[in-house]
Each structure stands twice: as structure tokens, then as C-alpha cells.
């Protein structure tokens, strides 16, 4: 029983808004399964006293002071936008017709 099946890949792709062909789904399912296997071997050496690590660098509390820095102008902000209107970013219809 593979850890990652074709349905999992299709669902993940859907959640991440990535369009995959049937062939790609099959291929990724195999590759992901191999990755999962490899990563699973970590749990063989990790004991109770080793906490899960998300941030390997021993650094905490990197803060900035609450002071205003330079901002973009509206023109700068919208300069990379495919479409804009009234100083705002314009995006296509969010909800399809119901």
C-alpha cells in the first residue's frame, strides 16, 4: 500500500491550483511515494526526546521597531498589475454564475 496514491496527488494539485495531466498524476504519485519512504526513515532514529523541528537555526525574537518605512506610490504598486482601475488592482470574476 503506497503512502501516496493517485487520489492524493490529484487532491493536492487541486488544492494548490496546479493543473496536472493523468500521466503526470501517475508519475508524481510514484515519485512522492519514494520521497515519503525516504523521509519516513527519519522516524526510525528520532526518539521521544527529539522534538519536531521547524526552525533549525537557534534564533528567536527577530523583531523590528514599530516605525514607518518608505511606502510604494500607487503608481509603483500598480506598475506590475495586468489590469487596474480606480487605483485598485482589477481581478477577473471571483465567483462563476450560479
Amino acid at each position: 500500500m503506497p503512502a501516496i496514491g493517485r487520489e492524493d496527488v490529484a487532491r493536492l494539485a487541486d488544492l494548490a491550483r496546479i493543473q496536472l495531466t493523468d500521466d503526470e498524476i501517475t508519475r508524481f504519485a510514484g515519485e512522492f511515494d519514494a520521497i515519503m519512504d525516504a523521509v519516513a526513515s527519519v522516524s526510525e532514529v528520532a526518539s521521544e526526546d527529539v522534538p519536531a523541528t521547524s526552525h533549525p537555526i537557534p534564533l528567536t525574537n527577530v523583531f523590528r521597531t514599530d516605525a514607518v518605512t518608505r511606502t510604494l506610490t500607487q503608481e509603483e504598486a500598480l506598475s506590475g498589475a495586468p489590469d487596474a482601475q480606480d487605483g485598485r488592482f482589477a481581478v477577473p470574476q471571483i465567483l462563476g454564475e450560479e
Binding site: D14, L15, A16, R17, S54, H55, I57, L59, T60, N61, V62, F63, R64, T65, D66, A67, V68, T69, R70, T71, L72, T73, Q74, A77, L78, G80, Q85, D86, G87, R88, F89, A90, V91, P92, Q93, I94, L95, E97, E98
Partner: protein
């Protein structure tokens, strides 16, 4: 819109047969100078897309840095809600695709909130206290603002396209989540609103947010479920999003209780979903059904290191907490000697601060209450204004009362002086001086007025001499009139009795 047809059940009947359980999520925008993760100004009104930096727009290559002030405010909120403050916590990415965020994720906290396991006491209008348990309070960023174009009344349904302003994107938020709030019964709507009001007051006392509901500084998501009895397992809940006034919160809870009771009565199943509140008729409607809505694929934010507030810092913030609204109310109740009813009326009228400042300026608590809850409350009602927006200061009221206490003016003159203060004529003492409104205390003036009144009213004099001392009012009236109300009625009475040689 999906067809929804269920008969609403009368609220009282619904709460007779079902036990409502609440759960409330409150988002508060922090009043920092800058955003959560970048130095763009945190301001309410500005030209669209001007209060932003490349970080606010999530442009490639940008990196967030945590605003220390926002962490401080979040800890203060946690402490005020009797929470534990995490020794270490981290941010997570909450992935969703919606154009109000550019990054396709919201930087939030998931499994490690900065504050957890707290409670807050909520006082209802009749003084009953409901303790609400807080599950967690976590830090996150606000999203941009969408304007939907081409459909009816700005709704997303039927819109042809949408316009986005990212000025609000990245504004620091703290989200406070309750545990299920049981056993509120028919008072569920009131409890829900009172809870959010309590938080609002705490945010203001802490000075962590302006906490203006009408500006969306404080927003509530209201969860409601019903179960057949208090010992039954929790029913399926609905979550009505972004309810932004106390009244709307009450109406949402009422409506959901009536609606869900209708479904359960018909042996139907309440669907777990997000809903929207409609101000026009107080109803809620189903939000869009997102099949994977709950699958946000949270994972730890790799661009931010953990936040580990030192215990020293937390204790320092705890020591520096201001007196919170609940404790303050209890203290003032003791100091002022008000009845519970007087206290609640003062709170509900928003007069607490004003009375306290008037007392600080030298007036007695009862006289301060009398002015703010009497004459001034009436004026505010007539003008459809808030008490605190009236053009009179607590110091002026204390001065006015001081003039009465020193017998320089009487109550009636004081009211005339007050109306001149409200017209902007200056301080009470000044007005009394310049308008010559001080009480006539010169006995010779009063004595001649008394003698005249005695001469003109022999029948009244007869009654008084005959033992009917209460008839004296018929003499005092004309004298007050003759002195244009500026006489001290008590002194006038004494002089009459002396003149007639009658014992009061």
C-alpha cells in the same frame, strides 16, 4: 442563492426545546503605527494602494519581520483575558486562494498561539455574570479589501470583476477564540453581544486598538449550535462571518436559533457552513460552499523565526496592565455608593468616565450622577447625541455643583447656568459673575420682599399664624418671582418665620 426553505421557530419556543451553544471568534485590528510584518503605515483611510510596501504586496523576494509592538499588544490582550502566554510560539501559513491576499496564504498562527487557556467575566445588563472561557488568542495579518463591480449592490454574486486595495493587507490582528459557551438559554443573544462588548472595552482600556466596530476594527464570527438538552453532545454549528455591530450579533444568534430549531423540528440536518448576516431583515444566508474550505494545509512559516517572549517581559507587561473595565466598575460601585441600578444605568448611558472625572474635579458622586444622568442625559436625548459629545466638561459640572454647595446659586439657577454653558458662554463661575445670577443673599433685599408679600397676602399670614406652616409656600412663590428666582428659598422661609414670629 441556494434554495433554503425552513420554517423559523419562535425564539422563545426554540429555546424552550433546545439548548443553544455559542462559540465566538473576535478579530481585533491592533493600533500599531505600522503593519504586522512590514513598515507600511497602519492607517484607516488613505488613497487605495498607497499604505503598502513590497512586503504588503507579497512581491517575490520580500521577507516579513515581526513588529515588536504587535507582539506586546497581543501579550497584553492575552494577559487581560487571563491566558497563559506561550514560552515559544511560531507563525504558520494558512493557504487559500482569494485575491484579498497576494501571497495565496495568510500568515497566522496555528498550533502554537501566543496566548491560550484564559477566561473573561461578562456582565449582562441586569448584573448577572457569565464566565466565558478563552481557548486561544493568536496573531495574524489582515487581508486587503475587495470591491465587487458589475453586480447588484456590491455583492460578489453576479459581479463581473473585482477591485482590490491592499492598504489593509498586513495590518496586525489578534484573533480570540472562545471555547463552546454553554447554558446561556434564552440569554444567548445577549451573552454573545455582551461578550464582544466586554472585549471591546478591554481593548480600549489596554489602548491596543481604537476598537471601533463601525470601522471594522473589531469583527466577530458567531458560531451557533443547538442540542436537545444540556447533557446532549454538541450539535452541528454554523458560523456567521463578520458580524460588525452588537445589535447584529444579537440578531444573528436569535435568527440562527430560530432557523436551526426549524430544521431540527422537521428532523432535518443542520449543515456545517459559513453564513452571512443581512442587516435589512436580520436573516442569515448560506455562504458559498467551499468543498475544501477546511483544508488550509497549514505549515510553519519558514521566513519567520519563533517568538519566545521572555518571562521577564511578560511579567513586566502584566505589572503594567491598566485597571480593567470589570474591576474598575466594582471599585467605583464601592467608592460611590451607587445602587446596582444606578450603576448599570450610568454604564449603559456611557456616563462612567464622565462621572468619574466630575468626582475627580471635586463633586460628590451622587451630585455628579444627578447631573449626567438627569439634565445632561435629557439634553443628549433631545439632541440625539452622546453624553460625551455634549459641549460641557466634567470640570465645569463640578464647578457648577460647587456653586450650589456654596449656596451662591440654587438648583433652578444652576440649570439656567448649565444651558448657557452648553451654548458656549464659558465656565459656570464666569457666567454667574457676568450675568449677575448669584443668589440674592442680601437680607435687606429679602426682608423688604418678605414684608411686601406679607402685606399683600393677609389670608395666608392668617393661616400660618393659625398653625398651618405649610401654607408658607404661597408667600415664598411671589418672593422668588420678585427676585427672579435668585433668592435662596430656605433663607426666605427663615425670614418669613422670623418676621411672623412663628416657629418652623
Amino acid at each position: 442563492m441556494s434554495a433554503e426553505y425552513t420554517a423559523l421557530v419562535d425564539f422563545d419556543e426554540a429555546t424552550d426545546r433546545y439548548d443553544p451553544v455559542l462559540g465566538i471568534e473576535v478579530h481585533v485590528e491592533l493600533g500599531t503605527a505600522t503593519k504586522m510584518f512590514d513598515g507600511a503605515p497602519n492607517i484607516f483611510a488613505a488613497e487605495p494602494n498607497t499604505a503598502i510596501t513590497p512586503v504588503s504586496l507579497g512581491l517575490p523576494g520580500t521577507l516579513p519581520v515581526v513588529n515588536e509592538k504587535a507582539v506586546e499588544f497581543a501579550i497584553k490582550i492575552g494577559l487581560a483575558l487571563n491566558c497563559q502566554i506561550a514560552e515559544s510560539c511560531r507563525f504558520s501559513r494558512k493557504q487559500y486562494f482569494y485575491p484579498d491576499l497576494t501571497k495565496n496564504f495568510q500568515t497566522s498562527q496555528y498550533d502554537e498561539p501566543i496566548a491560550f487557556d484564559g477566561w473573561v467575566d461578562v456582565e449582562l445588563e441586569d448584573g448577572e455574570i457569565v464566565r466565558v472561557e478563552i481557548e486561544r488568542a493568536h496573531m495574524e495579518e489582515d487581508a486587503g479589501k475587495n470591491t465587487h463591480v458589475g453586480g447588484a449592490t456590491g455583492r460578489i454574486q453576479g459581479a463581473t470583476h473585482s477591485l482590490i486595495d491592499y492598504n489593509r493587507a498586513g495590518v496586525p490582528l489578534v484573533e480570540i477564540v472562545t471555547r463552546p459557551i454553554p447554558a446561556t438559554g434564552k440569554r444567548a443573544p445577549e451573552v454573545a453581544a455582551a461578550y464582544v462588548r466586554t472585549l471591546r472595552d478591554i481593548f480600549r482600556a489596554l489602548e491596543v486598538s481604537e476598537a471601533r466596530m463601525e470601522r471594522g476594527n473589531v469583527r466577530a464570527d458567531v458560531n451557533v449550535s443547538l442540542r436537545p438538552s444540556a447533557d446532549a453532545p454538541l450539535g452541528t454549528r454554523t458560523e456567521t462571518k463578520n458580524v460588525n455591530s452588537f445589535r447584529a450579533i444579537e440578531r444573528t444568534v436569535r435568527y440562527e436559533i430560530s432557523r436551526q430549531a426549524g430544521i431540527l423540528d422537521a428532523s432535518g440536518t443542520v449543515i456545517q457552513e459559513t453564513r452571512h448576516f443581512h442587516e435589512e431583515d436580520g436573516s442569515t444566508s448560506s455562504g458559498r460552499v467551499k468543498s475544501d474550505a477546511e483544508d488550509y494545509r497549514y505549515f510553519p512559516e519558514p521566513d519567520l523565526v519563533p517568538v519566545a517572549p521572555s518571562r521577564e517581559w511578560v511579567e513586566e507587561l502584566r505589572q503594567g496592565l491598566p485597571e480593567l473595565p470589570g474591576a474598575r466598575r466594582r471599585r467605583l460601585l464601592g467608592e460611590w455608593g451607587f445602587s446596582d441600578m444606578e450603576m448599570r444605568d450610568a454604564i449603559n448611558a456611557g456616563a462612567l468616565d464622565l462621572i468619574e472625572q466630575t468626582v475627580t474635579a471635586g463633586a460628590s458622586a451622587q451630585s455628579a450622577r444627578k447631573w449626567w444622568m438627569g439634565e445632561l442625559a435629557r439634553t443628549a436625548r433631545e439632541q440625539d447625541a452622546d453624553l460625551e459629545s455634549l459641549p460641557v466638561t466634567p470640570q465645569q459640572i463640578a464647578q457648577l455643583q460647587g456653586l450650589i454647595d456654596a449656596k451662591k446659586i440654587n438648583d433652578k439657577i444652576a440649570r439656567q447656568v448649565l444651558s448657557k454653558v452648553l451654548e458656549g458662554a464659558g465656565d459656570p463661575a464666569e457666567i454667574v459673575e457676568t450675568e449677575g445670577m448669584a443668589v440674592v443673599s442680601d437680607d435687606s433685599v429679602l426682608t423688604s420682599a418678605v414684608e411686601q408679600a406679607i402685606a399683600e397676602n393677609p389670608d395666608v399670614v392668617e393661616k400660618i399664624r393659625g398653625g398651618k406652616v405649610q401654607a408658607i409656600g404661597a408667600l415664598i412663590g411671589p418672593i422668588m418671582k420678585a427676585t427672579r428666582g435668585q433668592a435662596d428659598a430656605g433663607r426666605v422661609r427663615e425670614i418669613i418665620l422670623e418676621t411672623l414670629g412663628v416657629q418652623g
